[in-house]
Each structure stands twice: as C-alpha cells, then as structure tokens.
C-alpha cells in the first residue's frame, strides 16, 4: 500500500498546522496518515487530538500510569512520553486496532467476562499492555520475578502482575485483570 492522502475526517479534525510544524507519515491500525505537527506534539496527543482516536487515554501524561499504552513498532510504550515525530514511518496499534464491539480481541472479551475494570479509564492501556505482555513472555523476555533468566518464560500470576506494574488501576480491578490475562494466556 502507498501512503494515502489525509482521510477527510482527519482534515476536518486536525488543527491547522502551526508555524514550525513538521510533516510525518505513519500507519495507525493499518491506516496510513500524513500529518503536520508542532514538534511538541506527543504521540498521545497526535492520536487523540489530531486523529480523534480517543480510545487511548491520557492519565498522568508523565509515564507513571500506563493509560496511554499503545503498541508501536511491535512494542508497548507510553504514548505520552514519545514525540509524534519520533514515529515517522512507524506502525502503531491502539485499542481501536485490536478489536471492535462486534469482534472483540480475546483480551477484550476476557476483560468483560472477568470484570477487569470498574470505571474503564485505564482499560485501553491495560489491554494494549496485556497483549504485548503475552508477546514478551512468548519471546522469552525476562522480568524481575523470573527465577531462571535462561529458562523459557511462563505466564504465571506473579509474572503477569510484575509485567503489568506499569498500568495503574485506581478502581483496583487488579485481581480480575490478572484473571482475564491468565485465561487468554492459557488459551
């Protein structure tokens, strides 16, 4: 696929480029975007304010809460601590790209089944993080609680809790979040 022109809805949504704006092109949830942004624009603000992908949430805006977790270049990151311009050419997946209300991602379905949220604000970040955590375990990336650094990694309760520690849930749904992730890990 070639990079397409800005989708009509994005043209309407995006603020007019300020002086000093710089161009970038990236792919979000399979859709190509070309935008011009003030260099100060974070990936999070690009997603929410320019492209109206408001599934990704702004919690602390300082990398402490994990509500803005997205998957960029195959790796979960805090979108609030990354400039949009650092992602020129990247492929980014947000919660909108994982599933839809009609076709939930298995982790979305498991969060519903296990009541893995209360207010729901941290949930998109929790789910994006959890998708990546299961990938990191499969890839053999060690964690602080891995007893043997050279053995295959397993999605135990302790491993999942440690690896999810960058996602804060103020409602305290942690037990149910861990159960949801465990169910998908075992599937």
């Amino acid at each position: 696929m070639t990079v397409a022109a800005i989708p009509t809805k994005s043209v309407r949504a995006a603020p007019s480029p300020p002086p000093g704006a710089m161009p970038l092109a990236l792919t979000i949830n399979g859709e190509h975007h070309r935008v011009e942004v003030d260099p100060r624009t974070t990936l999070l603000d690009l997603l929410r304010d320019h492209l109206r992908l408001t599934g990704t949430k702004k919690g602390c805006d300082h990398g402490q809460c994990g509500a803005c977790t997205v998957i960029a270049g195959g790796k979960r990151i805090n979108a609030c601590l990354s400039l949009a311009l650092q992602h020129d050419g990247d492929k980014v997946t947000t919660i909108e790209g994982l599933g839809t209300p009609d076709r939930l991602h298995p982790l979305q379905a498991a969060f519903v089944k296990h009541d893995g949220f209360q207010c729901g604000y941290c949930t998109p970040g929790q789910i994006c993080s959890a998708v990546a955590v299961l990938g990191e375990i499969k890839a053999g990336i060690p964690s602080h609680v891995s007893a043997d650094l050279t053995a295959p990694m397993r999605a135990t309760n302790a491993e999942v809790r440690e690896r999810m520690s960058g996602n804060i849930c103020r409602c305290g749904a942690y037990s149910n979040i861990a159960e949801a992730i465990a169910e998908v890990a075992a599937a």
Binding site: G63, N78, L83, S129, S143, E162
Partner: protein, 317 residues
C-alpha cells in the same frame, strides 16, 4: 513544553556537531526522561537531535571477548540478550528491576545512564535547586530527604543518581564510548562517568558539550554468582531506597556496588576487598565517609542488611 526545533541526525559525528554547534540543543534517544522533564519545564532545549537513525542499536562481541552495546539498544533488548543473561546476569537483573515494561521498551542504554535525579526538590520548580538552577540553593538540605543520598554528597546537593542499570555496569567495570563534534572517539570508565556534585551539581557527567555516547562496553565475563537486590517502597515500578549489585565468586571474594545511596553508583576497592568478611565489614568501609540526614540514615543499616541477603543468596548454605 517550550518550543523547540527537531532533526534526525544521519551519523554520530553529525549528531555531535549539531548539538555542539547550537546552544540549547540536546540529543533525543528514547525520550522517556527528557520529555517528562520538558513537560515540567525543568529541561527547556531549543533544538532536539534525534539519534534513532544512527544504527547504534546492535550488541556485538568485542575482540577481547566482551560485548559492545550500542547506545540506542533499548533496556528491554539489553536485558533480554542471551549473552547478557548468561554472562552478565547482574545487568539483566538490574534492568528488569527498574521502571515498567513500557518504559524499558523505549528507554535506551545511553539515555538510562544520563537520566536525571528524582530528588523532589529538583522536580519542584518553585523550590531552590542547585542542580536545576545553579546557585539557587538546595531545598533538600533540611527538607524531606528520606530518599536522598547518604554519601558522596556536598553542601550544594544531596540528590541520588536514581538508576539501576548503571549500578550493575559499575560492578562490571563497563566503559562508555563517545564521539565528539570533530569525530574524535574516546572511552570513559563508568567509574569516572558520573561526577560528584561538589560546588557544581548541575555538571553531572564527564561528557563535554555535544559529546555523544555511541556504546557501552562490557569487559570479558568474570563468572561468579550475579545478584541485583533492590529495596523500594513497593514491589515493582519504584526507585530504589537501596540496591546492591554484586558478583560473588565461589571463594567469597567479589565485587559490590550500591544504588540509591549516592550521586553515582557507589563502589570502592576497600569495600570489595572486605566481601569475604561479610556484609558488615563491607558497608563499614563503603559508608565510612557517609553524611546521612536524620531522614535517611536508615539507608546505611538497610544497605548492610540488603548486602547480607545478597551474600546469602549467592552462597546458599
């Protein structure tokens, strides 16, 4: 955030020249610490030079049997490297003890070394801070200092170096390879990389203006039992009150460095030499010149106990 301009450098020397040639310019690697500080206007660069295209993201063997870790290698990639896990386990352990999975995916090897202190008075722009605003004073002296340094401090600054990775690199005798604006390369021993605060706490490292870190080198493996033990206020995702990086050989000799206690990873030859005598002998030497506050003097006892647990872990009865 204050306004800035942005460029992606095409070579390490070009990046160094771009930063050296423009007052207020800074390198941008992962950005996880820099952007946080820019949002708070603690850092106010006028120009950012992004180093992601410099091909500094590889881990390669060196001719002497060690490893050269590119400056842009992510913390996750470094911790997960099979050679590091096998031969430099203390480094993997230290990295995964810090931050969160999201931050480790973005944070880089060089950026981790250069992270700023988390002293609450450095972060609060309403407070005096000699590190943030040279000559303004230190609000931490006589302030809330529970998390701050007990040794290596000065009357101008009692901030800690906050990282975990560098504590392991200190015990591994790592080197920091750099290049300057003229293309000249040099290696700085990690032991000499972080400065003591003295009267100039804003000058934190041995890097010259515009000098770019290109790699961290690890000497050949030394064997032994590798342990990184970190004590913090919660089980995960918190900075160390005290941490211990140790490599302990079967005969009880070894190396030890402490984190969370000083403006730099804290290690001394005298303390290393005392390892066979046990934890109390080590910390008596390592912290002989300590100047703790009433709030943080507990860190010295905590360091002894953490080291005792480390030694027990390395030499099971």
């Amino acid at each position: 955030m204050k306004a800035f301009t942005y460029e992606r450098a095409k070579s390490p020397a070009a990046a160094a020249a771009a930063v050296a040639g423009q007052p207020g310019a800074k390198f941008l690697a992962g950005g996880t610490n820099l952007l946080d500080l820019m949002k708070l206007q603690i850092e106010t660069p006028t120009h950012l030079v992004d180093v992601q295209d410099l091909k500094l993201d590889r881990i390669e063997p060196t001719a002497d049997g060690g490893l050269r870790v590119g400056a842009f290698v992510s913390n996750t990639a470094l911790a997960a490297d099979a050679r590091v896990r096998r031969d430099y386990a203390v480094l993997t352990r230290a990295i995964v003890a810090g931050a969160s999975g999201q931050l480790r995916n973005k944070a880089t090897t060089a950026g981790n070394l250069l992270q700023r202190t988390r002293c609450p008075y450095f972060y609060d722009t309403n407070q005096p801070c000699n590190k943030r605003r040279p000559g303004s004073g230190c609000a931490a002296l006589g302030g809330y200092s529970r998390q701050l340094a007990v040794i290596g401090t000065s009357d101008a600054c009692i901030a800690t170096y906050p990282g975990d990775m560098a504590v392991a690199l200190r015990v591994l005798d790592a080197g920091v390879e750099t290049i300057d604006a003229h293309g000249a390369a040099r290696t700085i021993l990690l032991a000499e990389f972080h400065h003591s605060p003295g009267d100039t706490p804003h000058l934190e490292t041995a890097l010259a203006p515009g000098e770019l870190i290109t790699a961290v080198t690890l000497p050949p493996p030394v064997g032994g039992h590798h342990v990184y033990r970190k004590v913090r206020d919660r089980a995960s995702y918190a900075f160390a009150l005290v941490s211990v990086a140790a490599i302990i050989q079967p005969d009880g000799s070894g190396r030890v460095a402490f984190g969370g206690v000083a403006p730099k990873p804290w290690r001394s030859d005298a303390a290393d030499a005392a390892l066979p005598e046990g934890a109390t002998a080590v910390t008596a030497r390592a912290f002989a010149d300590a100047r703790p506050t009433a709030d943080n003097k507990f860190k010295i006892a905590l360091a002894t106990r953490t080291l005792a647990a480390t030694i027990a872990q390395a030499r099971p009865a």
